[in-house]
Assembly symmetry: C2
Homo-oligomer: 228 residues x 2
Amino acid sequence: MQQLQKKLAVDFGIDFSDVSLLETAFTHTSYANEHRLLKISHNERLEFLGDAVLQLIISRYLYQTYPQFPEGEMSKMRSTFVREESLAGFARACGFDRFLRLGKGEEKSGGRNRDTILGDLFEAFLGALLLDKGIETVEDFLYQVMIPQLEVGNFERVTDYKTALQEMLQVNGEIAIRYQVISESGPAHDKTFEVEVLVNDQALGRGRGRSKKQAEQAAAKNAVEAGN
Amino acid sequence: MQQLQKKLAVDFGIDFSDVSLLETAFTHTSYANEHRLLKISHNERLEFLGDAVLQLIISRYLYQTYPQFPEGEMSKMRSTFVREESLAGFARACGFDRFLRLGKGEEKSGGRNRDTILGDLFEAFLGALLLDKGIETVEDFLYQVMIPQLEVGNFERVTDYKTALQEMLQVNGEIAIRYQVISESGPAHDKTFEVEVLVNDQALGRGRGRSKKQAEQAAAKNAVEAGN
């Protein structure tokens, strides 16, 4: 744990005070069960707390970053961001997997690389950090390791901009949204489409893509971002 | 809104700065839809944020108040605490319903007293308060109006202490829990039972009630609280 404390200080500028809390965050139930007589605490309660602080910070981030997005769209984005595989990836990227205290059975069956276990570990760490340092530190940490990744990576892949645009506009009533191809170029096996999105016959955005569908998404994205 | 600002200051010591944010929190979609041309914002996005801050504060409260409760039990308690009817009740107790901006149709059909609408209003207010004053102020507010009520009211009614005790103990492996009646007193129509809960044949708690079931719950509660 001393090594972990040092790592947190060097990598993230976190001066973690309560070592026993850190130990709990990095202890899987399987380890606690194997050492029952020692009454070691495992990380499930901290995970409960960490999940809640993560949800809040991501919610606030989405609220501030996408002022035109309706609640339903933010909600979808949030659940994509905080899904297990995503959190497990951040745990690995932070090098947390090495410090996990795991039972022997789990270790043998590859638990140290399992998404559920690592996702829970990441949340438990956030819970511990909340108790040790407060919400601002948790927020700083997430803005270092997680939020920039959401922006460049996951986000592009997972958001359905056509739906987002529709929801954004229908906040103000029924509206007709049309997509039309304005150009097609290149040979058959390597075409580029350009699409325009029209809202009540007014052009709101343009986008390009290798398929009509891709170009429509790009046009919707363009319109959504212009609306922000 | 000026009257509401004054009320917040007098009743809760909250000096709310951003009036437009407060307005948004108190505006139902039905009102925004009726005034489309004015492009009034409604409270759905703030509700999204408020829900998240509420979950976190309740989670931290449960984590700190019930150190022996497993994650599953805290999770159940949390969802009971933050359910719609409960939040609507707090909105009414704070006198928020009077200030809600509601569409005419909703007003006619009794929307001003509807649990869904008032529960959402309460959450939206928490979201606005988070943005205006920060999480400590939201926490102070909830510790004034909501958390003491959970302690005395809802909580007693909704928690199944027998399950809580079971989950608490089984964190440390398989354990035999038995309830036995140690006394029965009073006439047939007005009996009182006293029950003892035994864990691996060791008495951990006692409780009384008008039925065996009630007395068992009381004994489990006694054991759970002793374990904290």
